[in-house]
């Protein structure tokens, strides 16, 4: 009986050490809210820059609010507008010459048909109608 009492398990001197159940990680880097704010700021600057780029490039003559830069397109349009009379005049001359030649050919081909009017319009209008087909001689 006395022998059993002497060999009983007891806690060590000063008790057991406490059990570590929590992770012990050091704090690293900025907090989540700071990261979120940073991302928001970067995105905002990017969108602003995109808006500026669009304003410089596009030509949207609708909104007074954004009536600012957007000169690149207007520059391009006006450079083309300035050239229209020149190109149109050249094309007109060519078309006139071709029309006369076509009518001369028609006159020659249809000379034996009585009552044939050369160059008669197929449309009942006085307005000029651009030719939609061209007769090719092969």
């Amino acid at each position: 009986m006395s022998n059993t009492l002497n060999t009983q398990d007891l806690p060590p001197e000063g008790g057991f050490p406490s059990v570590r159940y929590q992770r012990n990680l050091p704090k690293r880097g900025p907090s989540g809210s700071v990261l979120l704010l940073g991302v928001t700021l970067i995105s905002a600057y990017g969108l602003y820059r995109l808006g500026q780029t669009n304003l410089e490039r596009r030509n949207i003559p609708t909104s007074k609010l954004f009536y600012r830069d957007r000169e690149l397109d207007r520059e391009k349009y006006w450079s083309r507008i300035h050239l229209i009379p020149l190109l149109q005049a050249e094309m007109d001359r060519d078309l006139y010459r071709r029309t006369l030649a076509t009518q001369a050919r028609e006159q020659e081909v249809m000379s034996d048909v009585p009552g044939w009017k050369v160059g008669e319009k197929v449309y009942h209008t006085k307005r000029y109608v651009k030719p939609t087909v061209v007769v090719i001689d092969e």
């Binding site: 490039r57 690149l72 507008i81 300035h82 009379p85 020149l86 001359r93 006139y96 651009k130 092969e138």
Partner: protein, 156 residues
């Protein structure tokens, strides 16, 4: 055999060697390609403004090509005159600018340095200024902007 073909929506080259009748005064065609025309466009618009507007008003009146031949000849002569003057006064600068446009997809913003030199030369020699109509007042036109967003990548 003769057959019908659409005048422009076709891949067949429609040629007609018949010359213009003699009662129509002869005029040389401009003959410049797209890049020199684009380079000179604002000066053509300024120098030939009266002729161009006259021609467009005439076209508005009647779209028949026979109706505005006289005005059209004036337009073409004026453009040839201007191109000749550019060649005489600012040949090098003109050449540099339109070559740049030709190599850069006809984008004005790719050739601002050349354009600046060319415009300065034309302003000195012919007293013509590049003006983009419709620019908001009090705002620098895009061709004079110091730091545009659209700019060429640095040339290597």
């Amino acid at each position: 055999m003769a057959y019908n073909e659409h005048p422009f929506l076709t891949d067949i080259k429609v040629t007609d060697p018949t010359p213009m009748p003699d009662n129509v005064p002869k005029v040389d065609e401009v003959g410049a390609t797209s890049a020199p025309l684009k380079s000179a466009s604002f000066f053509i618009g300024g120098f030939c403004k009266d002729y161009n507007e006259d021609f467009m008003l005439c076209k508005n009146e009647n779209n028949d090509p026979a109706h505005c031949l006289k005005e059209g000849r004036k337009v073409t002569r004026c453009a040839i005159d201007l191109l000749k003057k550019l060649r005489e006064n600012c040949d090098k600068q003109f050449e540099a600018h339109w070559q740049c446009l030709d190599k850069n997809n006809h984008e004005f913003y790719m050739c601002r340095p050349e354009e600046k030199i060319f415009n300065g030369c034309v302003l000195n020699a012919l007293n013509l200024k590049k003006v983009i109509p419709g620019s908001p007042e009090g705002q620098t036109p895009i061709n004079l902007k110091e730091n545009p967003i659209y700019r060429p990548r640095p040339r290597t």
